[in-house]
């Protein structure tokens, strides 16, 4: 494990309000979080406690969030939002496949202007990453709409990991998967972390043995639990 002293991602006094029946509801209420390279953090809590909101706020995908966010010590205001999201990568719970082939999906990020000029992974590399999550039998030219849910979830995670983010934010990555797919998603996440990245997972399932840290979101703040 390669823990570093400076957190890869840090949130200070992060707050998000929502309009509720009884006025403004503080979904996140001055929350603090620091994640370091080489660490996998699980966030747990009941439905509606703000777990997804937290991930969206960390990825700068939630308008109206207040507080301070830092990436490798750099304040968010100094990092262009699109660049931030390439470094702090959020993967939604419903990881949709886009129209096209498996290869189109894996290389989707390289069709975006934010990565123009960057080297595109070749076919060999794509085969290698597919093999790494036991999808060696999936052809790169297969229509992505014909993938099973478990295959699609693994490919969506690969699509994000391939872009080389610093931090992965995974929203219920294995909630609706079969055991084998869930196991592969867990292993891939662990490998990403072992190579120096940081990962934050929102989960409601019992521990899978990969997390280094487990935190409970309650009352808009995080409380440390044993991993």
């Amino acid at each position: 494990m390669t823990n570093t002293t400076t957190p890869l991602l840090e949130a200070r006094s992060l707050s998000v309000g929502r309009h509720g029946d009884a006025g403004i509801l503080r979904v996140l209420d001055g929350l603090d979080l620091a994640v370091v390279g080489g660490a996998l953090t699980d966030i747990v809590g009941p439905s509606g406690s703000g777990k997804t909101t937290l991930l969206l706020a960390l990825a700068r995908l939630l308008p109206g969030a207040t507080g301070e966010l830092l990436l490798r010590g750099e304040p968010a205001q100094r990092v262009e939002p699109r660049l931030w999201r390439t470094k702090v990568a959020y993967l939604p719970q419903r990881s949709s496949m886009f129209p096209g082939t498996v290869e189109d999906n894996l290389l989707l990020a390289w069709r975006l202007s934010v990565r123009s000029g960057l080297a595109v992974p070749d076919g060999g590399r794509l085969r290698e990453v597919l093999d790494s999550v036991h999808l060696g039998d999936v052809a790169l030219d297969r229509d992505a709409s014909r993938l099973s849910e478990g295959q699609a979830a693994r490919i969506a995670l690969l699509r994000t990991v391939l872009t080389g983010p610093d931090v992965l934010l995974l929203d219920e990555p294995d909630a609706a998967l079969d055991d084998e797919s869930a196991r592969q998603v867990g292993l891939l996440t662990r490998r990403f972390v072992d190579e120096g990245g940081a990962a934050v997972r929102v989960r409601h399932l019992r521990g899978d043995g990969h997390a280094d840290r487990r935190m409970r979101l309650t009352g808009g703040r995080l409380v440390e639990e044993s991993a």
Partner: protein, 269 residues
Amino acid sequence: MSATQLAGGVVAIGWPQLLLASGFVVVTGLLGVWMQLGVTKDLAVATVRTYVQLLLLGLVLRWAFAANKWWWVVGILTIMTVAAARIIIKRAPDAPSGLFLAAVTSMAVTGITVTFAVTGLVVGAEPWYSPRYVIPIAGMVLGNSMNGIALSLERVFADLDARADEIRALTALGATPWEAAHPSIRAALRAGLIPAINSMAAAGIVFIPGMMTGQVLAGADPLEATKYQIVVMLMVAAAEIIGAVLAVLMSYRRRFDVEGVYLDKGLRG
């Protein structure tokens, strides 16, 4: 009172004949009551509006043709443009607020460009503001581009909402609002253009276009009326395309915040 034969073989319609035409609407209204369609009141209001609005238009055109002043023509075009923009906003209820400027601008640019290209370059109207040519042609241009714009705007914002999860996933990968919205923009513009293309494909086979019908009834040579109709159909298609593209490009970004995040239903104030 009977219909009157005018010069050029045109049969003028008298006021009793005009009222007689309402008889069919009355029959339709009675049918609606019998079948409990709940549209009788709307039909009555629409009929009255047709009489009032078109008769007023006739009077205004008669007066404008006689006045033959450029500023009256420009004034009438401005009123038509603003009215069309208001209708567009009403017909796209899911669109974000503040689209009036985009609607007016796209209508105005379309109206000015296409109308004066036709009256000046194709018809060769003299003077350039000749109300007899400019106002009716602008009416057709604006009317059709209004439909194209309204359809495209309604479609683009509905499609963006339907793709909200996909847009979020793309944004998370670093997509710009343009990159994330592009499939919806393309679908909306295609939807906006299909009526014009269908209309062009069916013209002369399935139906005789309205303008040509009017000209023939007014005594024009059918071939001359056809030439005008071709010009009108092509310019209407162009107007729909230009208007829809402008309106959609000027407005889609309003569904994203300054940091490029899509404002789905849960995030709108």
